[in-house]
């Protein structure tokens, strides 16, 4: 029997850290990376007597994600307390949602090359993050654990999928898709390394052809897309080996150990917590009426898939271009700002996919940080379209813009980069080149057509690259055939 006989059944639980300015139940800053325990108040410290007050933006964000994933929106959502003791949980309970989450029964379609995997979403609910226990930092003694409460009360959405994912690769694709979506919606920065996206996975195997579910394990501690894929792959082979040797899978939580490349048992089901969920009496139910839903729906940005389709249709772009351009919302916005102002849409696409993306990769920055306004790129493309500069010069102008921040027109003017379109001037340069290379002229006339490129190159060099290459071509051919 081989692995082929078993089918992996995977479900994901993803925590999405929201980009709200303040925390979910108090007005403390939700910013990442502050000095420990400086972004705190009696409320997020869980002092006796304090009460939570819901940040309305969290509801908006939950609705955005819910509407973007075809969820049903609960008209009356309710927060619940999840009770457990831990030093980084000041109240002894986490305010989360249980019976009435904001969103339920959604769906995300993942394009997997030639087929589409439809993953159903069980629910999306909001909750507060816990603090952070510090063990490893230099200032923590070997026999102590310190707690940073800054993260307490930072808003999270938890998205839970049905067990509809069938391979580690699909899981990774799902995460990439979700990251793109939350970034488009502007609700999360999608950074898995900084833990703004956190993923736990449930996995079981079942013999192919069967419909029941096997015993699952829950995997935690995966800090990147590749960890998720590796951990699932490891777990598939571990479970496969156990099942094929007749052993039983134990329902348990397992930690991914990235150094050893294995999953390790953390706690079994018998020791699982009884969280004693009940509706939080300190928070009134959140009534989400149709008006609110419609307002959020109206304000939803165009989502990646729709935008891709529109780019293909509106700008006559190849599917490949449209896909690359829409991967990141800021890039797509930039492209669009350029494309609407230039005649040649494909040229705009080439510039963004080529020079712009190359630049971002080299500088390891995102487009907002680049010294490039969409209008500058428009200018460059227009300078080409009008014949003022040729495309080779245009690339050096582009680099100049990035370095200096000056406008392309100014650079072209100050550096005298205007294309030479004056036939007399070009002919003069051609004459000089031909006179300097009599042997090559003879060879060309003897049928060595390939030398055409050589002549063009020489003429371009003689004109500092400013001659219009098309004119150079035409004129050289005319000279060589004419005499």
């Amino acid at each position: 029997m081989t692995n082929v006989n078993y089918e992996p059944i995977i479900g994901l639980e993803i925590h999405i850290q929201l980009l709200t300015r303040s925390k979910i139940f108090c007005s403390c800053s939700a910013q990442f990376g502050g000095v420990p325990n400086t972004q705190v108040c009696p409320v997020c410290l869980g002092m006796p007597g304090v009460l939570p007050v819901l940040n309305q933006n969290v509801v908006e964000y939950a609705l955005k994600l819910g509407l973007a994933t075809d969820c049903e929106i609960n008209p009356r959502a309710q927060f619940a307390r999840k009770n457990y003791f831990y030093p980084d949980l000041p109240k002894g309970y986490q305010i989360s949602q249980f019976e009435q989450p904001f969103c339920q029964n959604g769906k995300i379609d993942i394009e997997m090359g030639d087929f589409v995997r439809s993953v159903r979403l069980t629910r999306i609910h909001a909750e507060e993050d816990a603090g952070k226990s510090m063990h490893a930092e230099a200032y923590v003694g070997t026999d102590e654990t310190l707690v940073d409460v800054n993260r307490c009360g930072v808003p999270l959405l938890e998205l839970v999928t049905e067990p509809d994912i069938r391979s580690p690769e699909e899981a990774a694709f799902f995460l990439i898709h979700l990251r793109q979506l939350v970034r488009y919606l502007g609700i999360c920065d999608g950074n898995m390394e900084e833990a703004s996206l956190r993923c736990d996975a449930n996995i079981s195997l079942r013999p192919r052809g069967e419909t029941g579910l096997g015993t699952k394990t829950e995997l935690k501690n995966m800090n990147s897309f590749s960890h998720v894929e590796s951990a699932l792959n490891y777990e598939i082979s571990r479970q496969y080996q156990m099942l094929s040797s007749g052993e039983k899978i134990e329902q348990e939580t397992r930690m991914w150990n990235v150094d050893r490349g294995i999953t390790e048992s953390m706690r079994s089901k018998e020791f699982s917590h009884d969280y004693r969920y009940f509706p939080d009496p300190d928070l009134v139910p959140v009534v989400v009426d149709d008006d609110w839903i419609e307002r959020v729906r109206r304000d939803l940005p165009e989502l990646p898939l729709q935008r891709k389709k529109r780019f293909i249709k509106e700008y006559a772009l190849p599917e490949y271009d449209a896909k690359i351009l829409t991967e990141d919302r800021a890039i797509a916005d930039f492209f669009e700002a350029v494309a609407i102002k230039v005649k040649d849409k494909k040229a705009a696409s080439n510039w963004v996919m080529g020079e712009v993306l190359r630049c971002l990769k080299e500088k390891k920055c995102n487009i907002d940080e680049l010294r490039l306004e969409a209008d500058s790129l428009v200018e460059i493309i227009q300078l080409i379209e009008s014949g003022t500069i040729n495309s080779k010069i245009a690339k050096s102008v582009f680099n100049d813009v990035i370095e200096s921040g000056d406008s392309p027109k100014k650079i072209v003017k100050e550096k005298g980069l205007m294309q030479i379109t004056d036939h007399d001037a070009i002919e003069k340069a051609i004459d000089q080149v031909l006179q300097a290379h009599p042997d090559e002229v003879d060879a060309f006339r003897g049928g060595k057509d390939k030398l055409m490129g050589f002549f063009v190159g020489q003429v371009m060099r003689a004109t500092d690259g400013k001659a219009n290459p098309k004119s150079v071509n035409v004129l050289i051919r005319k000279k060589l055939s004419g005499s």
Binding site: L45, M47, P48, L51, V53, G92, F278
Partner: protein
């Protein structure tokens, strides 16, 4: 008559006419506090701060700038936080806790120039009906030192009754203001749920807790409620409902009012002397033109059971933050995290609090939630519906506040069920979220005060003040 026996409205007249100073008044209360130390009404007294503040308020009165409560010497139940002074909740686990912020009600009292004199004793975490479970010892009833003052706001009730303050704040989760008010012969109000902000009240059962005033007179009570009530953006459960001028409800007639007498409140278990006292008031009201009608609240018999499930469930969660990690008591003997929790909580909480935490933990456990917590919430809805229905027919309900007058110290301490039953007439009001006021209306043959309870529609505290003020003025006890 001793000055500390006067109601605030009378004292204020003297203060405004400079016949009396706040400084002098504070000294008188402090003198009383020292003389009556054996009552054990206070956990903390702010002698110096109160004297200091009295001087400030005297200046403000002289300058004609004084607030609604200028010079009113007020005591605060020690489960309401005040910045910079200990809040113990009567528990060892908070014996060293000093909060860094003020409760909303404290801020409001200070804005109206009240003088805060001290923090009063209570059953540990407000869990009890006798003020005997405090880590700081039992409080005694000023009418008979061998008897309990009721609870859990027994310190506040005892202090008001003994003239150790002019008014006080308590908290009422199942009767904790009204029952001690009844035992000590003072006026105690549990406002409508959401009328007063809970921000800064250390939670016992969040969906039932409400802060309210205790005072010698109905008019003082109305004034205190006016000062502390109203919307608070820091409390999501606090209602955005305008606060009326409660003074306008005083000195009104009762002619034409419809008053309901719920038959279930007058059944077996009620002390005949109390029954007679209530009937006397009803007769007197009828003579003055009120219409008395019998009404029925059929689901009342389930109130105590539902209450002890809901209240303990919420308490078990609310008290999880007392874990020894960040503030309060931490056991010295712990060797690891688990031990720190177990030992700190085992040593820090008293037996009644532990009993309720265990009960609450049990009813929320998976497998039991539906049978207990969910069922209790359904019963709660039925009880609320009962009240809504009868309050559509009448302006107010009248019942006894407690089935007995003040009982002896330790009489019920070892019998939790008997103790829980002393709240039988009050808990249903908390379950339904209604306002209710206890007014002294008689004394029994031992000279112990008897309380009568008025219950009104949500946010109709004005009606309670109207009828209670009328009874207070026309019915000698």
């Amino acid at each position: 008559m001793h000055l500390t026996e006067l109601a605030y409205t009378q004292l204020r007249r003297k203060l405004d006419r400079s016949e009396l100073s706040c400084e002098k008044l504070v000294d008188l209360y402090i003198e009383n506090i020292h003389e009556q130390e054996s009552l054990n009404a206070y956990i903390t007294v702010f002698e110096d701060n109160a004297r200091q503040r009295a001087i400030e308020i005297d200046n403000r009165i002289a300058g004609g700038q004084a607030g609604m409560l200028a010079g009113m010497v007020v005591a605060i139940k020690d489960n309401i936080v005040m910045k910079g002074v200990p809040t113990t909740c009567g528990s060892k686990i908070l014996s060293n806790f000093v909060p860094p912020y003020d409760a909303t009600v404290i801020r409001k009292l200070l804005e109206q120039d009240a003088i805060l004199i001290g923090k009063t004793n209570l059953d540990e975490f407000a869990m009890g009906s006798s003020t005997e479970t405090s880590n700081f010892g039992a409080t005694r009833n000023p009418h008979d030192a061998d008897r309990v003052p009721g609870g859990s706001s027994g310190g506040s009730a005892s202090a008001v009754a003994a003239g150790l303050c002019c008014g006080a704040l308590g908290s009422d989760t199942g009767g904790s203001i009204r029952q001690p008010a009844s035992f000590c012969g003072v006026v105690g109000l549990k406002p409508t749920y959401g009328r007063v902000s809970r921000f800064g009240l250390v939670a016992f059962a969040s969906s039932l807790d409400q802060i309210g005033p205790l005072s010698q007179t109905v008019s003082d009570n109305a004034l205190l409620l006016k000062s502390i009530a109203g919307y608070d953006p820091n409390d999501s459960t606090c209602a955005n409902v305008a606060v009326p001028d409660y003074g306008s409800f005083l000195q009104q007639e009762v002619r034409g009012l419809k008053i309901g007498k719920p038959v279930e409140y007058f059944s077996q278990g009620l002390d005949p002397e109390i029954n007679r006292a209530i009937e006397n008031v009803l007769e007197s009201l009828a003579r003055r033109g009120a219409e008395i009608v019998e009404v029925s609240l059929p689901n009342l018999e389930y109130a105590i059971s539902a209450y002890y499930i809901i209240a303990t469930a919420e308490a078990s969660s609310n008290l999880e933050r007392f874990d020894g990690a960040r503030y309060g008591f931490r056991s010295a003997g712990a060797k690891n995290l688990e031990e720190m929790y177990v030992k700190s909580r085992s040593e820090g909480f008293g037996p009644e609090v532990k009993r309720r935490i265990m009960l609450g933990t049990f009813v929320l456990s998976s497998g039991y939630y539906d049978a207990y917590y969910r069922k209790a919430m359904q019963v709660r809805t039925l009880i609320k519906n009962d009240f809504d229905r009868v309050l559509e027919q009448v302006d107010c309900l009248i019942t006894p506040t407690s089935p007995t007058t003040a009982f002896k110290l330790e009489e019920k301490l070892d019998d939790p069920l008997q103790m829980y039953l002393s709240d039988i007439y009050t808990v249903s009001v908390n379950l339904a979220g209604l306002p209710a006021l206890s007014l002294p209306c008689a004394k029994d043959h031992q000279g112990l005060p008897v309380g009568i309870q008025f219950i009104a529609k949500p946010f109709d505290e004005g009606m309670l003040f109207r009828i209670a003020d009328h009874v207070e003025g026309n019915h000698t006890c």
